[in-house]
């Protein structure tokens, strides 16, 4: 920036009687930078603006899905009489639309049980997505447990972790009854005390300080008020 040409700037003019000698050399009166420097900064600034005009929209386009929440979906899975208190019934329904079978997921549904201290008249929908890394767990009737085939995660009847690597209980789906049909809705996660929280991905802890270390994502639905 401070090559010889800069310092010579105006020196010739200064020799003339009607122009003052620039001081410091290269700067005219009232100027805070040389003209060369001013143009350099201006051109680099313009280039930066032009670059940002291309890069920022492209990055925003790629990042936008993080902040987009899809439409809430409810799907009827069968009449109320299909479900009992003491065991689960496996249902398959669509969680992600427009990708065919790949968008389907499995949930285990039962009526809420007073014996387990649950509010009566509700339906419990436990997701089969393992809370370790997302493998599909299976409800084993004889043991009354959910067991994951991948890394040996085991959950009790209510979906609480009792063994293996999972970090929290199995996720749940919201349920409601419409026209005598049980409907399942958005997914939510639960803490180890089975308190509903916003849906988390597998492998992420819930409750306490973990709610801040694994913050809820804007793309998930608020949990049902318990």
């Amino acid at each position: 920036m401070s090559d010889e040409a800069d310092k010579q700037n105006g020196a010739e003019a200064g020799r003339r009687a009607d122009y003052p000698e620039p001081d410091p050399p290269g700067y005219f009166e009232g100027e805070s930078m040389t003209r060369r420097r001013a143009f350099t900064v201006a051109v680099q600034g313009l280039g930066g603006i032009a670059g940002a005009a291309i890069v920022l929209p492209a990055v925003g386009f790629a990042v936008a899905p993080i902040f987009h929440r899809g439409k809430e979906r409810w799907e009827a899975i069968g009449p109320v009489s299909d479900f009992v208190e003491d065991t689960y019934r496996q249902v398959v329904f669509t969680e992600t639309v427009s990708i065919g079978d790949a968008g389907k997921t499995t949930a285990y549904i039962r009526r809420s049980s007073k014996k387990l201290g649950e509010e009566p008249g509700q339906f419990v929908a436990v997701s089969n997505r393992c809370a370790h890394l997302g493998c599909p767990v299976r409800f084993v009737e004889a043991a009354g447990n959910f067991i994951c085939p991948c890394h040996g995660g085991v959950y009790d009847f209510q979906g609480r972790r009792i063994g293996g690597p999972p970090v929290r209980p199995l996720d749940h789906f919201q349920t409601r009854v419409r026209n005598g049909q049980v409907e399942v809705g958005p997914r939510y996660s639960v803490t180890s005390q089975l308190e509903p929280v916003r849906a988390r991905d597998p492998g992420e802890f819930t409750g306490g300080i973990w709610e801040y270390l694994y913050p809820p994502r804007p793309s998930t639905f608020p949990p049902p008020s318990s």
Binding site: S98, E204, L213, P215
Partner: protein
């Protein structure tokens, strides 16, 4: 005709000092003997034909001055003790070129859509001529490339070739390692069968276990809260466009630094000792406790 004559003079291996014709060159032995025979037209045509490729290369060279760079790169000195372990980098490069070529041809038949991807892969494997072979090359080649990258990294580490002044090349290499893993990860989803679907779910969820930014990162990879149609096109774009470009650019930088800095000798090679015996200084002699 020797093959050597096809290589333009600037690209030939430079003669070692004291060898070759040089400026003094072997002078014609007998200048005054019988004048050379006038070549026939056919002979002249043949000579022109032989010279043509040389002329073309010379034409390019005159305008690009590429020969200096090429001779410098191709005939650069390598240290004593250079062995087969030093070929792992080139092997990785060959694996990458193979992946790029087979990938381009696979892309001609592949459909990156959640409903058609699996069918298009089945079409490649079952119907397209040599389709299963090219698909297999790409599939197994990806494992080969990952293995070679790690072997190359191990060679660099155990030979101490990451030390000054080659640290930047190590850093570039680590970025290339990450990009290679990204390629392997994003490519795994593309067949969109059960195995790739669940493997990608597990992979994305491992990503999500990173504190604070992990959840957002996995949402970014999936383009939403669940793995869906956009996830596939996103992985396809990363696999096809984003990462290959970055890998090519970084391989260029990697190779430039290799040529610029040269390679290291294996650690078991001793540096050449100066031939003249170093004079023993009085300081050394006394500290040794030797008689003197």
């Amino acid at each position: 005709m020797k093959l050597d004559s096809l290589i333009p003079a600037p690209l030939r291996k430079p003669a070692k000092p004291g060898e070759g014709n040089g400026a003094k060159g072997a002078a014609p032995t007998d200048l005054k003997s019988s004048p050379p025979e006038r070549p026939s037209d056919a002979q002249r045509l043949k000579e022109r034909a032989v010279d043509a490729p040389v002329d073309v290369l010379a034409w390019v060279d005159q305008r690009t001055a590429a020969s200096g760079f090429l001779t410098g790169m191709l005939y650069r000195k390598v240290p004593k003790g250079t062995n087969w372990f030093y070929t792992l980098g080139s092997a990785t490069l060959v694996a990458f070129v193979s992946q790029a070529l087979t990938g381009v041809f696979l892309a001609m038949f592949y459909t990156p859509s959640a409903t058609q991807a699996y069918a298009s892969i089945a079409h490649i494997n079952n119907d397209v001529f040599l389709g299963q072979f090219v698909h297999g090359m790409h599939k197994w080649g990806s494992s080969v490339m990952v293995i070679l990258v790690f072997l190359h990294m191990g060679r660099t580490f155990f030979f101490g070739a990451y030390k000054y002044p080659r640290e930047l090349n190590w850093v570039i290499g680590v970025v290339l390692l990450i990009l290679t893993m990204t390629m392997a990860f994003t490519g795994y989803l593309l067949p969109f069968d059960q195995r790739s679907y669940w493997a990608s779910i597990v992979g994305i969820n491992i990503n999500g276990t990173g504190p604070v930014i992990g959840p957002y990162l996995s949402d970014f990879l999936r383009a939403g809260p669940e793995l869906g149609a956009t996830t596939l096109s996103r992985f396809y774009a990363i696999h096809m466009l984003l990462v290959p470009g970055a890998i090519i650019a970084l391989i260029g930088a990697h190779l430039y630094l290799v040529v610029k800095l040269g390679t290291t000798a294996p650690p078991w090679m001793k540096a050449n000792k100066p031939k003249a015996a170093t004079p023993v200084s009085p300081l050394n002699a006394s500290s040794n406790g030797d008689a003197g």
